[in-house]
Symmetry: C2
Subunit: 412 residues, 2 copies
Amino acid sequence: MAPRIEIDADLVRDRIDRLAAIGRVGETGVTRTLYDDAWVAATDQYAAWCDAAGLAVTRDAVGNVWGRLEGTAGGDAVVSGSHIDSQVNGGRFDGALGALAGLIAVAALRDQFGAPKRPLEAVAFCEEEGSRFPNAQFWGSRAITGRIGAADLDTVCDGAGRSIGAVMRDVGLDPDAVGTAKRGDIGDFIELHIEQGPILEQDDLAVAIVDAITGIRHYHVTLTGVQNHAGGFPMDIRNDPMAGFLELGAGLIDTAHRAGRPAVSTIGRVEATPGARAIIPREVRFTLDTRHPDPAARARQYAVQEALMREVAARRGLGIDWTIELDHPPCLSDPGILAALQAGATEQGIATRVMASGAGHDTQQMARIARVAMIFVRSKDGRSHTPEEFSSLEDCVEGIRLLAAAMHKLAY
Amino acid sequence: MAPRIEIDADLVRDRIDRLAAIGRVGETGVTRTLYDDAWVAATDQYAAWCDAAGLAVTRDAVGNVWGRLEGTAGGDAVVSGSHIDSQVNGGRFDGALGALAGLIAVAALRDQFGAPKRPLEAVAFCEEEGSRFPNAQFWGSRAITGRIGAADLDTVCDGAGRSIGAVMRDVGLDPDAVGTAKRGDIGDFIELHIEQGPILEQDDLAVAIVDAITGIRHYHVTLTGVQNHAGGFPMDIRNDPMAGFLELGAGLIDTAHRAGRPAVSTIGRVEATPGARAIIPREVRFTLDTRHPDPAARARQYAVQEALMREVAARRGLGIDWTIELDHPPCLSDPGILAALQAGATEQGIATRVMASGAGHDTQQMARIARVAMIFVRSKDGRSHTPEEFSSLEDCVEGIRLLAAAMHKLAY
């Protein structure tokens, strides 16, 4: 058995509170969007904490902050971190907890076990939320994996219409150097993040080992029928796209519900044209967000849902058309890292369960260049992207202990 | 058997075409809204045609135009007409055909049968559509029935924010005299109107006798649930108001569909909050337009639909709240006038069916002061409120023949 890894709860509390104070909104809200003043202050603070912990600090071309502890045997690094930006009026834990966890875990390992064989690194990704530049999502981890094109620097703009390249210059970053952020020497990446769901709370567990990030597809669907007077047209001869939407929307949701966890499907937006009370609509448009972490089950789910849409539309004499606006395949965790996490949990006496992430994370970008996995920490009421977002100090400490245990297995 | 009543098809065509030219939009569209220039020209034209037909012309305080033929025995008048205003870019027949039909029928009766016993009148109501002043709907027939309040003159405004009282003064009408438009000497009222639905076309009939105007109720419904992340929350523990809407909306429409004609229910508008692709909504708001012309069946329909809404919301853990924004009871036609229409149809050899009106009409206002019924003329493809709105000359003539036959039964 490995010795118990100690994580200083007072330090964790201090770091969470002080990072939350940068961009604070009200009591517990945080607004820290890419390259704004709060973001600059937060990355400076993160760099200072890395430095104080004896890690070698670097900032790359897009503003990711790295703290590195060299390994005696060299080789590819074992890295942990998450994003330092937030939603507009988001919470204190989403992203921030994972960035701090990497830093605290690496420092604790150095303090308790000395120099590792492999290099250890903590990272604060500059951006994940898309809360300032909607098309910049995963800006930090995309730069690390070499997936930012030169055109992005001019075409990705914020709500005020300013290009991300121009805004980078404002904060002292050179957009022409984006290519230098690419890393080829990261072996393993583990991201700790709040769950953003209620499953751990339901199971009365502090932490989970994440074996996959779900596959996500967004459909934009248009159903077309025949507009007519709501009073003059009998029900039996209508081509009412709203009636079609009601049937097929229920079926789309039922498809995921019947499949059971972890399948999910959500209709978040719908609108009818012309949208008058006394007119049978001629068109109904809606979005479908549909997710499954298992590649085969995901393919079946999408096929069933597409067949349903075609069938209902054809039977009801409606036109149907859709575009796929987003399509992320599932990201499966690496078996070797999962084994390190499982062994670490057992040795440290941390009760866990294995689950998939229903949300997207930087980890799915990092999977392009490294072996990956994630740790989830319990979220109160499953809430996130809100000032009410909360994870207890005890749960955060347990999550960081598990992270440190796995990094110890991989690097020592 | 009464003699065949002759209606001059060339005259009907001429009147339809010339009235359609006033406010014409494109080939076949018409925009003639209350008190605008086209409206002024149309009422002048209608008054001139009444005068040319030998009828005594009067204009009342709101601008309804009346053409009267005195009766030898006096008594309450037998009146026919419809509204002279149109939708914005509406068609040539909605309202206009009925206003012309009254005038043509009265003139034809006088020409073919001489003076009636009871007075006969044709009327062009100033307004029915609400297309300029949304809250002025039935302005003409409301004035005739004494249902315009003094406050309406200041509070009913057009899209430019001008009060209807001020606009009346612009066209030479005295808003303080609105009370004088009230009539207490109308015995019977028959309105000819296009069907605005496909039933006569399906039945291959030119005209129908309308035995009721449907009861209409508009609900505005709000379903509230719990907003959450579309990825992190399992289907089985969601309180998703969209899922609730899909189930209950389908049930609301099915309630009317299963009841069969003439029950109808329409959901014309829906929106979700916050309306994002990857967020389970916290609120879904929608409208329900639900109609039945039979008072008892209508009450049952509304009770079933309200019970369904409560049941689905309660079972799914959703909040539900609704307001009733409009609630018109059914308007049943008078048996005596229906008998006159039936006898007239038989004597004139006009094939008809009896049906309810699914739309509201001035007739439901006039029912407060007179015995009423309506005649429908076949609409091509059931279309209305569009430049494509069309009824054939032959069908229009048959409708006016039926109107004249019934007026003959009632007045001679």
